[in-house]
């Protein structure tokens, strides 16, 4: 696979190293000359100095034959434009963007970016997980459409404990696809009941995710 990474900060640097180790073809684009020198001393010819938003430099870097373009600079606006221009100019099949402000994830999807990663959101979710049970943790976003796969852990104070699936007041456009109990995935039916320690995997429209929180919330 040919992967182009834009932004030679810490994320770009370690990502490039990992991908090289996994035998992928990698190009790391870094705008700043000083940073470029530092990174290329270690990674060598994998690194190129240039602005990942400029079409001429995108062409030179081979965006046209890239399988994926990953924008991981520290600026959301630069990452957005890298991905949009990669799609518009070079038809790159998969664009992935780092997002600092989690609210930008939705906007970026709407504007054509295929996938987004927000460390802010991930860390926030981890903290929430520590605080109380019943939290809805996003696992993955489906590529097209506004669908997310989320996971909810059933704690000892869960309001749905010992009830079955068919009596749950689930929002519309939410579907329980699996209950993970003791390391085994169960394909649930309406009669499946919930037990402490269960992980419930749910397919849900992202706009209705907050309604799921009401159903499973343990009220910290």
């Amino acid at each position: 696979m040919y992967v182009i990474i834009v932004g030679g900060g810490n994320i770009g640097y370690y990502l490039a190293k990992q991908l090289v180790a996994a035998k992928h073809e990698v190009l790391l684009l870094e705008k700043d000359r000083l940073r470029y020198r530092t990174v290329s001393e270690e990674l060598g010819e994998v690194v190129m100095q240039g602005d990942g938003c400029e079409v001429a430099q995108q062409t030179e870097a081979g965006f046209g034959r890239a399988d994926a373009v990953v924008a991981v600079t520290g600026s959301d606006d630069d990452n957005l434009v890298v991905c949009q221009m990669a799609k518009l100019e070079h038809n790159v099949p998969r664009t992935i963007s780092r997002v600092n402000d989690p609210r930008n994830e939705k906007l970026f999807h709407k504007l054509g970016v295929d996938a987004t990663v927000s460390s802010t959101k991930i860390i926030y979710n981890l903290i929430e997980q520590e605080v109380g049970g019943g939290e809805v943790i996003p696992l993955a976003a489906l590529n097209r459409g506004n669908i997310e796969i989320v996971e909810v852990e059933i704690g000892a104070r869960s309001p749905v404990l010992d009830g079955d699936i068919k009596s749950l007041q689930l929002p519309s456009e939410a579907l329980i696809i699996s209950v993970i109990r003791g390391g085994h995935a169960i394909l649930p039916t309406g009669e499946t009941t919930f037990a402490v320690g269960d992980s419930v995997v749910i397919l849900v429209n992202a706009d209705r995710e907050h309604e799921l929180r009401h159903v499973f919330s343990e009220g910290v």
Partner: protein, 150 residues
Amino acid sequence: MNVVILGCGRVGSTLARMMYKDGHTVTVIDLQSEAFRRLGTKYKGQRIVGNGIDEDVLRRAGIENADIFVSVSQGDNRNIMAAQIARHVFGVKNVIARIYDPIRADRYRQLGLVTLCTTTIASGLIRDFAANGEWGLAKDYSQEYITHAV
């Protein structure tokens, strides 16, 4: 008209002063409060310190009631992103982005933004002037700016 302008550089501040003088409700956003010095003493419109690609900042600047949003900050990408937020998140009817890079200006125009590429406008006018000795369609507003001291 409610006007929100992102970027209080030469263009942003001049536009703000002109439109304020014309009687519009103007808000200017800039990352640095020192930039507002360019607005002079006659401008009494709103000034917002903040990042123009942050929805909260745009909301504070009144973007929800804006008739027109203009992004003329220093960064092309910032202008592009702010303009797309104005259009797609807040549904502002008229959105204009100044983009220095001619290629980006062209591509985002194709995506439906109104983009203004001052690079090609100035270069083209100068090239034509050099060739035929006459100015193109551009009107020079500096007399208005100077004599009315906006």
